[in-house]
Symmetry: C2
Subunit: 240 residues, 2 copies
């Protein structure tokens, strides 16, 4: 039915298609047949590229947070930054990354995360973060402690908790952003700002930082304003 594509292109198409279905129906309720119907390919085609439905999910996880993990590792590798600067730089980059895309993809991602569908997807994201991101965060913490700006007796636990809370926060915020976008409710934006303030304080506590060391709020304020403008002037049709 479709032209022949390179494996990369086909995989990308399958991922896009299935992501949209997962967002609407959830992972469990989306069948492989749904995916191949929507993508216009056959069962054989699907299983040529993916050994199982779950293998597809792994690819999706990789795609969803692979970028952010890459940003993280890149920053960590730099030796011209202090631990605190690295931490802030990462927050800045991730926030900017999400901020730029947020209008296009927030509806989509929030559907993906909300309502308790896609439990497996979320749990795989946590796993990925714990395995690939937490160890790197631990290095930053050790550096920070050495530099004297971080204060904790528990680098390992702090790193794991930091990462876990970070992912949690990202999902919750994405959800709220979309809610705000949909209902055009100023109050939700306040909720988001409050959540960010709390989050900032929490992360500072975990890392044993001086109050106000982390810069979370500022950037998000920018995004919130962007959202606000979007809310007032009306928004483009959204994803796809």
């Amino acid at each position: 039915m479709n032209k022949k594509l390179t494996p990369q292109e086909r995989k990308g198409q399958i991922i896009q298609t299935s992501l949209q279905l997962f967002a609407v129906k959830g992972y469990d309720n989306t069948t492989v047949n749904n995916i191949i119907d929507e993508a216009g390919i056959s069962k054989g085609g699907f299983y040529y590229h993916y050994s199982s439905k779950e293998a597809l999910l792994e690819d999706i996880v990789q795609m969803l947070i692979g970028d952010m993990a890459a940003i993280f590792e890149e920053i960590v590798a730099r030796d011209d930054l202090s631990a605190l600067e690295k931490t802030n730089e990462y927050i800045r980059r991730v926030t900017a990354y999400k901020g730029d895309k947020i209008v296009e993809v927030s509806a989509f991602l929030s559907e993906l995360y909300s309502g308790g569908k896609n439990v497996l997807l979320e749990s795989k994201i946590y796993d990925f973060a714990r395995k690939h991101v937490a160890p790197v965060m631990k290095q930053i913490i050790l550096q920070g402690v050495e530099e004297g700006s971080f204060k904790t007796e528990f680098p390992e636990e702090a790193a794991e908790t930091y990462v876990k809370l970070f992912v949690m926060q990202q999902q919750e915020i994405t959800d709220l952003f979309y809610e705000a976008l949909q209902e055009r409710d100023e109050e939700i934006l306040e909720t988001i700002k409050r959540k960010y303030k709390f989050f900032q304080k929490l992360l500072e506590d975990i890392l044993g930082l001086e109050k106000g060391s982390l810069v979370v709020e500022e950037e998000m304020g920018g995004t919130a304003e962007r959202m606000g403008r979007q809310m007032i002037w009306g928004s483009d049709p959204g994803l796809k």
Copy 2:
């Protein structure tokens, strides 16, 4: 095959049986047929009591943390305790509750929680905690702030995070305890103690408490010692 039982007894039997299967094989990999074979009942019998496999899971969640939620609500209702006392009392009770049972059920629970099987179960436990426990915790926090012992500008966020971390911690610790029990590794007990110290500090930060206000470590030390003795003297066969 079996005698006739009251619905309550039958449900209890089904829950016990399925819990053991879930612990070994995981929720997804345990079929309804597995359950009814093991329980010695028929398909019709099962679906007479439960409308679906997932309905059974809901019952299990209720049973697993219903007790602890009940303890919580009971404590909150008392007006002879300060917020801090309530918080500590709850930690004490839950720890004692788990501590007493830990040798019998830790193997079981840890199997249930570990390895990424039973993802759905864990997520349902979080949901339950968020819906039923977090609002109550928020009340305690408000009381604490009023009394001047708690300090936070974010009672709502603090409550949700507190509860979420609490559940997380319980699962992780259960897992580690069993590991320690199995491998008779003193080092793991140290890991657990460190985790508890970190946890205590984290909870105190969230609630804005003075250092050392919460009593987490002490009680767990007792349990750890009990575990230690068990480890040295050998343990009873375990659950069932």
